[in-house]
């Protein structure tokens, strides 16, 4: 719809600006709070909307840990960010690798019970981690994977969603392409590597963004399988700053929250072009 009427233009701008404000204001507030001192936040009613002057020291404290002016001990966020990054990467890459291969098998190979296999993968869509959390915990614990990266990531890697997305994509690849590759002497794996993978690049990018954020935002599962501090991901770290009877250093909490927001935001911004293409593109 392309219309140029001033009233309509104004209205759409108002709506859009309202939308931006609603989304951006909490983030701004987080930023503002992270630049003030804990005392300012605790005493000011309401919280000042202007940035304070304690930005550098707060972020240094949040990243590297140490004692606040009120004496409470802040654990360093940097190692937790690292744990989150590693887990999110393993989860995203693992999910994509496994889903690509299983979708490849389901679409391009005729084997007994193919339909059953597909539907059993598909049905697990109904069983997210939260539903199967106790048996999964039992398995992970029996395998001695508590407090390891494997324990943090492996149960989250299997993904019906990604398998399904790749299956749908593979189904749109014309049969003639497969046949041309056969005539060109490309075996199944070579076809996968030379033709299917390059064609799936945008889908892979889109799924990487989604799955990276999914992995990064995990909270419940790490809460269960990690008991040692060196395997706490950042999302748990934020929560840990708030619990306790002691005075909460909201400036540090907000700084940590912003730090935790940064990597997923970076992934989205850097891969935005591919992300949109992968979700929208049907051209082959």
């Amino acid at each position: 719809m392309v219309e140029h009427r001033p009233a309509l233009n104004l209205l759409s701008h108002v709506v859009l600006i309202l939308g931006v404000l609603i989304v951006a204001f909490p983030v701004y507030l987080t930023f503002v709070a992270s630049t003030q001192s804990a005392q300012d936040i605790a005493t000011a009613r309401p919280v000042s909307l202007l940035p304070g002057s304690h930005m550098l020291e707060t972020y240094k404290l949040a990243l590297l840990g140490g004692n606040t002016s009120t004496g409470s001990l802040i654990p360093a966020a940097a190692p937790m960010l690292w744990v989150s990054l590693v887990s999110a990467l393993i989860i995203a890459i693992g999910k994509i690798a496994i889903s690509l291969l299983s979708a490849f098998a389901i679409v391009y190979f005729r084997f007994p019970l193919r339909g059953l296999v597909f539907w059993s993968i598909f049905i697990t869509l109904m069983l997210p981690v939260e539903v199967r959390i106790s048996p999964t915990y039992a398995v992970v614990s029996n395998l001695g994977m508590l407090n390891t990266y494997a324990g943090l990531t492996v149960p989250l890697i299997a993904s019906a969603t990604a398998t399904f997305v790749f299956r749908q994509f593979f189904l749109t690849v014309p049969d003639e392409l497969v046949e041309a590759a056969r005539i060109d002497g490309a075996g199944p794996l070579r076809f996968f590597k030379d033709v299917l993978l390059p064609l799936s690049a945008t889908s892979i990018a889109a799924l990487f963004v989604i799955q990276f954020i999914y992995g990064w935002n995990q909270y419940l599962w790490p809460l269960l399988v990690t008991t040692s501090e060196d395997k706490y991901p950042i999302v748990m770290g934020i929560k840990r700053l708030i619990v306790g009877e002691a005075f909460v250093d909201w400036n540090v909490v907000m700084a940590t929250a912003l730090l935790a927001m940064l990597p997923p935001a970076l992934v989205v911004v850097l891969m935005q072009k591919w992300f949109v293409k992968g979700l929208v593109d049907t051209e082959k």
Binding site: E176, L177, E179, A180, R182, I183
Partner: protein, 354 residues
């Protein structure tokens, strides 16, 4: 270079007695270096047959031999063939060069050799300036040429074409048709060309195979097939407008069609129910002869088609466009020479010799 033999080839989808059969025991011999066109209406099994030669479909029964070697169990890449697909099936993410080189790379041809072969093919097909482009940056005709280039660089002993011209516009199609003929004259590679377009079939074929319902109706040169169609199917499929087919009763030199009785220039091969075939261009208006009531006419430029009825049955007549057309409803008299009569059995629909 290689000959191709099809021996009682059957294609069935699935197994068991109720499995649908799409090819019913087809046999044919293709000589080394020959250009064969397989033509037929859609669903007649012509593409399936080609895909069986390519190795993309399994052979249910019978043998396919290329160059004397039975290839039923041989992978497509090992059959020494190259195929041009209807929608070209170019790899969309590869450049034109890579598209052509891909098969050679898989066959571990040395890089220098790949370079020479691709350059040579690109030269023949005038693709030299496009080698770095991606398929989506090419026009339909250029994509078609890349698909041919991909086949040429493999230096196969058999080319297989699966309706490669049907996605081109009419002008480009005529031009590409000529290029394919030129290419065949130059390379002399045995070629199988599948099409549903009878003009393509007539112009390209050294010999053509007319298929219908999974069976071969006739094999022969375009001239033979046109002049002596082996069945009513071939008679009406090849030629535009199709051959007139009049069912009637023959008795010596008389033939009763509907309400009319026609005088024949020569006696019918036998008395009784027969089908008489006459090509529209072989009917000539004359002072005396079959009474044809004209209904309408079509002007085609060099010639004019007259649609009429004889004895209540439709008859098409092709006449010189410079002659004044009869008014609709007017009766004209037409005649035909003895050698242009075709007789078919109304039961088997096969040609009755002569």
């Amino acid at each position: 270079m290689a000959s191709i033999s099809l021996r009682q080839v059957v294609k069935r989808y699935g197994s068991g007695p109720s499995a649908p059969t799409v090819i019913h025991g087809v046999s044919a011999e293709v000589a080394d270096g020959e250009f064969i066109v397989i033509v037929g209406p859609s669903g007649c099994g012509k593409s399936t047959l080609l895909r069986m030669v390519a190795g993309l479909e399994e052979v249910s029964e019978g043998d396919i031999a290329i160059g004397g070697r039975v290839v039923n169990q041989v992978e497509p890449a090992e059959r020494d063939i190259a195929m041009v697909f209807q929608n070209y099936a170019l790899y969309p993410h590869m450049s034109v060069f890579d598209n052509m080189a891909y098969g050679l790379r898989n066959a571990r041809v040395p890089i220098a050799e790949i370079r020479t072969r691709v350059d040579k093919a690109a030269g023949i097909l005038e693709l030299g300036s496009l080698l770095d482009r991606k398929p989506r940056q090419l026009s339909g005709g250029q994509r078609q040429r890349v698909a041919m280039g991909r086949a040429i660089v493999r230096q196969p002993s058999v080319f297989l074409f699966d309706e490669p011209l049907s996605n081109l516009d009419a002008k480009l199609r005529a031009q590409t048709r000529l290029e394919i003929r030129k290419l065949h004259a130059e390379l002399g590679v045995t070629s199988l060309f599948v099409t549903h377009d009878q003009v393509e079939a007539m112009t390209l074929a050294q010999r053509m195979v007319v298929m219908n319902g999974g069976r071969i109706e006739q094999i022969g040169t375009p001239e033979e097939v046109y002049a002596r169609p082996a069945s009513t199917f071939v008679a009406s499929f090849i030629g535009s407008p199709p051959m007139n087919l009049l069912p009637g009763r023959a008795e010596g030199q008389r033939f009763t069609v509907g309400t009319a009785t026609l005088d024949l220039p020569a006696a019918a091969p036998r008395a009784g129910e027969l089908l008489l075939g006459v090509r529209p261009e072989h009917l000539q208006t004359q002072a005396q002869g079959w009474a044809l009531r004209t209904d309408m006419q079509e002007m085609l430029g060099a010639e004019r088609l007259l649609y009429g009825q004889v004895g209540g049955l439709p008859l098409i007549l092709r006449v010189d466009a410079t002659l004044a057309p009869p008014a609709p409803g007017q009766t004209v008299h037409v005649g035909v020479a003895a050698q242009h009569l075709h007789w078919f059995d109304p039961q088997t629909l096969k040609r009755i010799t002569p």
